[in-house]
Point group: C2
Chain length 408, copies 2
Amino acid sequence: MATDLPVSPLAPAVFPDMPVIDGVRFASVAAGIKYQNRTDLMLAYLTTGSAIAGVFTRSSTRSAAVLDCEAKIGQPQEGPAAILVNSGNANAFTGKAGFEAVNAITFAVAQKLDVSVERIFTASTGVIGELLDHAIVTRALTPLEAGLTPDGIDKAARAIMTTDTFAKGATEAVEIGGKIVKIAGIAKGSGMIAPDMATMLVYIFTDAQIAQPDLQRMIDDLTKQTFNRITVDSDTSTSDTLICAATGASGVDVAGNTDFRDALYEIMLDLAHQVVRDGEGATKFITVNVTGAASEADAENHARAIANSPLVKTAIAGEDPNWGRIVMAIGKSGAAADRDRLTIRFGDVLVAENGWVASSYTEDQGAEAMKAPEIDIHVDLGLGQADATVWTCDLTHGYIRINADYRS
Amino acid sequence: MATDLPVSPLAPAVFPDMPVIDGVRFASVAAGIKYQNRTDLMLAYLTTGSAIAGVFTRSSTRSAAVLDCEAKIGQPQEGPAAILVNSGNANAFTGKAGFEAVNAITFAVAQKLDVSVERIFTASTGVIGELLDHAIVTRALTPLEAGLTPDGIDKAARAIMTTDTFAKGATEAVEIGGKIVKIAGIAKGSGMIAPDMATMLVYIFTDAQIAQPDLQRMIDDLTKQTFNRITVDSDTSTSDTLICAATGASGVDVAGNTDFRDALYEIMLDLAHQVVRDGEGATKFITVNVTGAASEADAENHARAIANSPLVKTAIAGEDPNWGRIVMAIGKSGAAADRDRLTIRFGDVLVAENGWVASSYTEDQGAEAMKAPEIDIHVDLGLGQADATVWTCDLTHGYIRINADYRS
């Protein structure tokens, strides 16, 4: 395990001061699933009537817990609900036994907390292919229940970490009709360290009042612009899960409220960026912004091709203003592009236009732009009005060290 | 420039003993385009009536030389023909001046050799974004013409190298109706080293007699199973070019002859494998074979997802039998898969079946299988009869060193 990794140089300075979200209580314990001397199990208990929406990995080899959650999201939701997450074992690619483990755990939580089994959402993150010993989890339910507290979200953020080098949290407050609606989210990722398929988990809590279908639609849309627009190494996990729970405790109806939606967007974007900032071996946070595309899909394809290109990512790791590799990535994306209409900028520096390097461009300008820890790549295609942004990090010796040199 | 790189540990022991192909003469010179103390320009002169077929990069930002060749392939072909390739400068993303350089060069070659300009095929490989000084090239035409010799193919293989660590050649002979048909091919790639977009060039010569449309169809098909089934880092170049020229000098008509087709396939596969063996930083040659797919496209998608996965490639670099990452790659490919029907093997070692690790599998078996320099990954999907194979190499510190640490 690589939990002794140094904290990412791109980590935020501090973990945010997280508010209490009325209607949610949290508990964390050290159950000893795999890690020693740290918490590895977190429980969130949600008040009666909470709306629960979710977005999951599209992997065709997704884990038993993901399949179980998917089946429950969108079903009639009444009474209280619970979220249980373990780290250290992903319970993925564990065959029939994997489903049995999920069933045993959700059944035990339902019994213990007197919550319908249809309202129990679990996730497992950590080693793939090893059976999750569900007795270790169910034995811990007594101390978990005893420890439930409204201000436990910080500890929950730490309990879901695997090879993350920092805990990830974000919070917003919105004033609506003289009342305050609060949102707080935590995430883990994107360490996918051997033999882990640890990957991304996101839990967002709010005291807003909103019907489940409205909340689901909102997070579906916002995921497309946030978590689906980040990439560390183009690999996709078997366990990616985002759950958003609205307790309604504020009494403020937020259906159709754009301030609430904007605040939720900010939290999701902030957490998505934190996942990239904890990308394995990352030393640069890279924003790839493509404008002037014929369609948003084209803009996203180009941005993704640039953000996933090993040659672009290694150039940035080497602080090399290698714009030729950006031209290459645009060329390979499959989306519409006209080489002679491309404009490429590194931050404020105009690099290329009219199918060639800009006459004003000097290598010194480019080299200077590459020195910052945050790199902005802007490509204008000159073809239309659509745009898209994708965020990524560089590809360094640190990535190879973590993924090739560490052994299980 | 990284031309002082050590020879790849996966390089073939020797360069093959190449035959003379009747109807082709070669010359190489050191024109001084960029490199010092080595050849950087090669000319192949093809006898009257040679059939010329070509396959090119699908990049939307492809170079002026590629666009020029594409336009000429398939046009009525009469009289002699010529191929001129320079290394050191890719003449890619050089705007209008790039087209002017190609025109100046093809016109000069046509004049010098008394060949129709429609029958001159050029390629440029090396630095991207720098204008190719065509006068350096055209000045070298006199010594090139003087040096034309039937046995110059070995030297031609070296003249087209950029950051290759070894010259690449392959040859076959086929007996048809008591006569011998010879084929000889050379290639360069896949060094795409900063600031080069050097990439893949392939030239194959044969004395077979075949009409251009038949030859074109044959190399279109065979490219799909050879050069389009290899990947080093999933990036696509602006300059990839494969040209196959049949002089007809043997007098043997090979249209529809499967022995000839098989021999051409062997040469293309051999050269494609050599390109992978010279992949940047490669220490393992990896064969990914997917069987039991519903369609060949599905099999290829899965094989490509595995072969392009940074997590799979780094695991192999670390000799880690991390089969969980193979499950992950299959899951993300987008093609049909049923987790519980997957069978995964490393060489002869059965790793996983029925949605879980095989009961007979031990980590020691897996670790032993990973020690070889040639790694076979076999995935059976259990869904149908289609299959596909993709070849790749591992992802190592060497790749990062070459692409991030070397500077222009």
